[in-house]
């Protein structure tokens, strides 16, 4: 079953994203800060990470860079979707430079999020 890790310090966001992705037929895990998110990614090996940028302890870009630099090649290739209020042009540049696969700007649309999650996962990962 396709596994998504959602890392955001706002429980309102993690609850909603988890709800929508679970209804899509995906397994969802949640973490509320960057450090715990990175540890969970290393332990759970998710198929995709939905990541906030501004978080306590370790921000989303640091998590993204750490994932890309991981010695485990599979984990280093995990798609990362940044779900963030920082979505101006320079932010996009920094996010992609850190290894983000895609962006969803907050305030966000759950339909757009679902579309981007589906697009970032390998074909057939999301149940029809």
């Amino acid at each position: 079953m396709t596994h998504v890790l959602v890392v955001d310090d706002d429980p309102i966001i993690t609850d909603l994203v988890a709800f929508r992705l679970t209804r899509l037929g995906l397994t969802v895990s949640r973490e509320s800060d960057g450090e715990a998110g990175l540890a969970a990614a290393r332990q759970l090996r998710p198929d995709l990470v939905v990541l906030d940028w501004m978080m306590p302890r370790m921000n989303g870009l640091e998590v993204c860079r750490a994932l890309r630099a991981d010695p485990d090649a599979d984990l280093a290739r995990t798609p990362v979707l940044l779900l963030t209020a920082k979505a101006q042009e320079p932010d996009l540049e920094r996010g992609f430079a850190a290894g983000a696969t895609d962006f969803v700007a907050k305030p966000f649309s759950t339909r757009e999020l679902v579309s981007r999650v589906t697009a970032a996962l390998p074909p057939g990962s999301v149940p029809a």
Binding site: I12, P107, F108
Partner: protein, 356 residues
């Protein structure tokens, strides 16, 4: 002697008993509060999925369980609303309207209690569309400062561009609106507010003109360049307007502004205006400004000299070459040039980022 001792004993016992009673009452109160909080957490957890299902629902009429949900449901919807946009936001707004939350808030805008008016304004700003703009605009003249601020923020969040003009006018009204909050609200209105900002730049009161110039620069509005140049050239413009216009021209970054900015750097009376012109020239990075900026290294104001040196450093090889030549000279120009080169040598990338 025995009677006073007995009285003292009874008094001590009474004191201990009262203390124990007070402690017991406090413990009971704490326990009740804890239970209430736990109950609310449980209720929130139960109601949250119901709120989430609203986002799937394309039906205009809410389900019976939504209509019958307790008031806590509205709080959950209001908590979620600022995080969402598009059809999700529309769905939540529809539910709030159906449950009468928006009508109640609209009525509360006329409440005698200031906190109620402020709360209603905040709610309508984050939850309503454009239908309450007129009522919120009236609150910009509310006697209570907190209510005026809440209405200002709310008008930005409604996204109704009709609010731009009253927001700018509120800067000079009595009682006036805080400049920073008006600025944030106008930024929240986004690019549809640009025509109103351009109007305020050319015809507004000085306070509105300065804020409009600043915001047009933040938007990088190319179409505002002629009006910004005119503001800079107009002798009747106030210093804050000139500083904001120079800053905006720097942010926009068109080299066509170089001539006007070098003129300001050379002729403006106030050091703050000359400094703003130098900063803007550094941002634009046009080598045509090198001569004026080099002359600015001999300015009477140390702030202006430092800004000119930083701008020369930001301009590139030509500017930095000029700094190296000047750095061997004595006097204030040489000092400023050496300082700029020192900063460049210590953190060349950072300096380029900041100044560029």
């Amino acid at each position: 002697m025995t009677v006073p001792i007995a009285v003292a004993g009874y008094a001590s016992l009474l004191l201990v008993a009262v203390t124990l009673l007070v402690l017991a009452a406090m413990g009971l109160g704490h326990r009740r509060r804890l239970r209430r909080e736990q109950h609310e957490v449980r209720r929130r957890a139960e109601l949250t999925p119901l709120v989430h299902t609203l986002l799937d629902d394309e039906d205009e009429r809410p389900a019976p369980e939504v209509t019958a949900a307790p008031a806590l449901f509205d709080e959950l919807v209001l908590d979620l609303l600022p995080s969402l946009r598009g059809s999700d936001r529309d769905a939540l707004q529809r539910v709030l309207a159906t449950r009468g939350v928006l009508d109640r808030a609209a009525r509360d805008l006329g409440s005698r209690a200031a906190w109620r008016r402020g709360r209603a304004a905040t709610l309508l700003g984050s939850a309503a569309g454009t239908e309450h703009t007129a009522a919120l605009v009236r609150l910009l003249a509310d006697p209570d400062a907190d209510v005026r601020s809440a209405a200002t923020r709310a008008l930005g969040k409604t996204g109704d561009v009709a609010a731009a003009e009253p927001l700018l006018a509120g800067l000079t009204a009595a009682p006036g609106l805080p400049r920073g909050i008006v600025g944030m609200a106008l930024l929240d209105l986004g690019t549809p507010a640009l025509p109103a900002l351009r109007d305020a730049l050319t015809t507004g009161a000085p306070t509105a003109q300065a804020l409009a110039a600043e915001l047009l620069g933040m938007h990088g509005d190319l179409a505002a360049t002629p009006a910004l140049l005119a503001t800079l050239a107009d002798r009747s413009s106030t210093a804050p307007s000139c500083i904001a216009a120079a800053g905006a021209l720097g942010r926009i970054g068109l080299p066509t502004a170089t001539g006007a900015l070098t003129g300001t750097l050379t002729t403006a009376q106030l050091p703050a205006v000359r400094r703003a012109a130098a900063d803007a020239l550094g941002r634009i990075g046009d080598p045509e400004a090198v001569v004026a900026l080099t002359a600015g290294l001999a300015d009477a104001s140390p702030d202006v000299r430092a800004a000119c040196a930083d701008a020369l450093a930001a301009i590139g090889d030509e500017g930095r070459g000029r700094l190296r030549v000047l750095s061997i000279a004595a006097g204030p120009a040489g000092t400023a040039a050496r300082a700029a080169l020192d900063v460049l040598a210590l953190a060349p990338r950072r300096t380029r980022e900041v100044l560029g």
